[in-house]
Amino acid sequence: MKRSLKALVAGFALLCSVNVAQAADIKIGTFLAVTGPASFLGDPELKTLQMYVDKINSEGGVIGKKLKLIHYDTGANPKKAVNFAKRLIKKDRVDVIVGASTSGTTMAVIPIVQKAKIPFISMAGSVKIIEPVKKWVFKTPHTDKMAARKIFLDMNKRGIKKVGLISGSGGFGKSGRSQVLALASEYGLTITADESYGKKDTDMTAQLSKIRATNPDAILNFGFGSGPAIVTKNVRQLGIKLPIYQSHGVASKKYIKLAGSAAEGVRLPAASLLVASKLPGSHPQKKVIQAYKSSFEAKHGPVSTFGGHAYDALYLAVEAIKRAGTVNKAKVRDEIEKTKNFLGAGGIFNMSKRDHLGLGLDAFKMLEIKNGDWSIVE
Amino acid sequence: MDLFLETQNLTKTFGGVAAIFNLSFATRKGSVYSVIGPNGAGKTTLFNLLTGIYKPTSGAIRFAGSSIVGQPPHKISRLGISRTFQTPQIFLNMTVLENTLVGCHSHGTSGFFSAAISSPQSRREAARLKEQAMENLRFCGLDHLAQRDSDALPYGELKRLEVARALSTKPKLLLMDEPAAGLNDSETSKMGELIQGIQKLGISVMLVEHNMALVMAVSDELLVLNYGEYLAEGTPEQIQKNQKVIDAYLGMGDENDDLFD
């Protein structure tokens, strides 16, 4: 018994001594859901960060220093995220944190970054992250609220009045659902049905036939992962001919691949990144987007908007550090907040004291899936 | 002597087959009352009925004047009936002393809370119960093994440990299910002395046993069961001369217990 106690103490000692890092580097901390249910977010995000940290370093770094990326995999578990955030702050002593793939993990670490007074740029969707504004917290992805508005505007244009809603029971789906329910009346829409499905559900025809029974003009699905693809397939299998709207949560080619021909005609709001080549040459973002897309695809395969959020988060931080000329946390934070006309993958960012996202509705394009590819709806 | 444990028309069926059928008998306080019969006669089933492990299909069981039918085993134990098992149900995860202490369970009152905070009252009680348990171990000749893990005990001592543990419940009636099974001759005679010692303490004993020498030596009265039914009852001498009993045993062939060892 005593020996194992000794071993335990020795183990502690060993673990605590591995705490050496080069002080000269700018340390960027990140904790992403690289495995687990949200790995389709975390995976491209991490790949993007690694790719661009290498790129920046090969070009000479920032303010004369190299970047060092320190990453931990949360598996989308908020408990792990809390400890990893503390580890980044306390043990790794990072200068800025970009990260958190999911809203759950983001919300979990907010109290910690606020207390530690360290700039934190999240890559998660929920509007709750930045509303109300928290001093040290920023984010890059469009909010679910924006997505709902964009979709509703398009529905208005098409004369849709009644909407059957189905959403995933995960954080993204639930949060999107509450935005949809809150905003619908503002656009003169009625929600005829409000159904949901679980993360690992394999068939949603039961919910969808219930929705069909309420006679909506269109079906709206808020969710990510495999769920939206199953919903899309199931709608068509049931012979429902109504227009389908998806959220920005499915903005990746994988969705089209999984849903197959059923995805034809599905509309969704998404960042311009998905339709880079179809953008007019005059589009201000075109250069940035195409550069990101081609370098990501050269290395890792089809691009998704999720990796783009990581690109934006990294560059928002890097640009702020450049402008501040230091890694002083307070100064970097102030500079992030002062970001103006930053051309990112997700849109053009204009931050302010009251807006820690800085994207307008125009950052979203309404897309329609045609012939297995994205097309822009004008 | 007054009637102590009695059954009336006791019947227990399993899926239509009667393991005990229409059995009536009565024991006397302070006696050693043995139940014998060929294998499958329903002796263990009878014990399970008397201790509340099985619920009778019909019939009555009265102990010290009141019905115990439908009472759960722990209540029956608290009323004063304890037992040992054919295959010892020793708590192999505990020491000898701890096993015996469990027997004292109903004689303690400290509950979860006072135990968890180790209140003075619960500590006093623990000391008192420990003394009782040690006394019973001594009585069964196991006191020197008190701190031993029970799973390291030889079979004969396991059997006696069961007795010590059962005695710790302070029973009025002790049911012993084949206490000598698997024991060698010297262990068996020790067990016989133990049974007589228990009787001397004023505790009534009800015995199921195949070793006829032991049964005949210690019993005041015998009940013979055959296929779950009453066959005969009487003193050892009467039973040995009973023609029905002799026939039943002879009918079973010679692999069975030799009644006239």
Binding site: D73, P78, K174 | S82, I90, F91, N93, V102, A116, T169
Partner: protein, 323 residues
């Protein structure tokens, strides 16, 4: 007294660790997680290790504690301590209600029933979004305060969480060495045997189920305040499994095994992060390996493997003297 020796060693380790490694992440941050997990594991061990009743749903009680504290302090601005007491009370009620039918089941049926219970409670945390905050969870859970002392730093949490753990271990130790503890272990050894000794096995199983649920709920309340944010993901089926693994991996039916198990299982992912995608694979392999080669768990298994080393020496020296 003898029974407290391990307790004092544990207390010593807990006190010394932050002195040797002040402000170390692994002591003051991971140490808090270990302590809270260990507290639940010690309680679960009372049920699983000592009484022999499996529960694959203990994350639910941890969650009930956490959500009671979280909801009452944020929505109704209760004093955290009243909220904590309320959490214990609610847990008591829930545990008492489900214990009766659930504990009549045995073995795998009991495993399934507790697992189902855990999943139901988790769904009740996810679905009523307007109350629980849904999958996005509850934020801004206030700081705990002990006699005017705000528990708002890692080291303070280290003290509180480990204090709670020591309290839990002390209670568990006393309980196990008492008349009640003997009865619990008797139930594990032989249910009929215990019944015949006058132990009301149904009642005592219910009692210990409630007690171990209270351990979990207490840890859950502390967890809610320590994290300041809770969401259903922290109380899922996976955490229930993790808890069982902590108890079994460390070693059942020993008071320190589960603590050791909690420490190992909490540290493991922290140290395996360097293996990135291999982490999952390695975790699975370690679990299988330990159970195959040390079926009694790390604590008991290792100490049994180590003991003979000393004993052999001792006996051989005795022999040489005798020879």
């Amino acid at each position: 007294m003898n029974r407290y020796r391990g307790f004092f060693v544990l207390a010593l380790i807990i006190i010394i660790a932050p002195i040797i490694f002040p402000d170390s992440y692994f002591v003051t941050v991971v140490g808090v997680t270990i302590a809270l997990n260990a507290l639940v594991a010690v309680g679960l061990n009372l049920l699983m290790g000592y009484t022999g009743q499996i529960s694959l749903g203990h994350a639910a009680f941890f969650g009930i504690g956490a959500y009671s504290s979280g909801l009452l302090t944020t929505m109704f601005s209760w004093n955290p301590w009243f909220a904590l007491l309320m959490g214990l009370l609610v847990t008591w009620l829930v545990a008492e209600i489900i214990a009766r039918p659930i504990l009549r089941l045995k073995g795998h049926y009991l495993a399934m029933a507790t697992l189902g219970f855990g999943i139901i409670i988790n769904i009740l945390m996810v679905q009523p979004t307007h109350i629980t905050g849904g999958p996005d969870g509850l934020s801004d859970i206030p700081v705990l305060n002990i006699l005017g002392w705000d528990i708002d730093s890692d080291i303070r949490w280290y003290i509180v969480a480990n204090g709670a753990l020591l309290l839990g271990v002390w209670l568990a130790l006393n309980l196990i060495n008492s008349r009640i503890g003997l009865a619990l272990r008797a139930v594990h050894g032989s249910e009929v045997g215990a019944q015949m000794m006058g132990v009301d096995i149904e009642r005592i199983k219910i009692r210990i189920f409630v007690v171990s649920a209270l351990f979990a709920a207490f840890a859950g309340s502390l967890f809610a305040h320590q994290q300041a944010f809770i969401s259903p993901d922290s109380f899922s089926f996976h955490f229930s499994i993790e808890l069982v693994v902590m108890v079994v991996l460390g070693g059942m039916a020993s008071n320190y095994g589960p603590i050791f198990g909690a420490a190992v299982l909490t540290m493991l992912p922290e140290t395996l992060v360097v293996f990135e995608d291999y982490e999952v694979l390695i975790l699975g392999a370690i679990m299988m390996g330990i159970m195959i080669f040390l079926p009694q768990g790390l604590w008991v298994g290792l100490s049994q493997k180590i003991k003979p080393l000393f004993l052999n020496k001792a006996t051989s020296s005795v022999e040489s003297v005798g020879g």
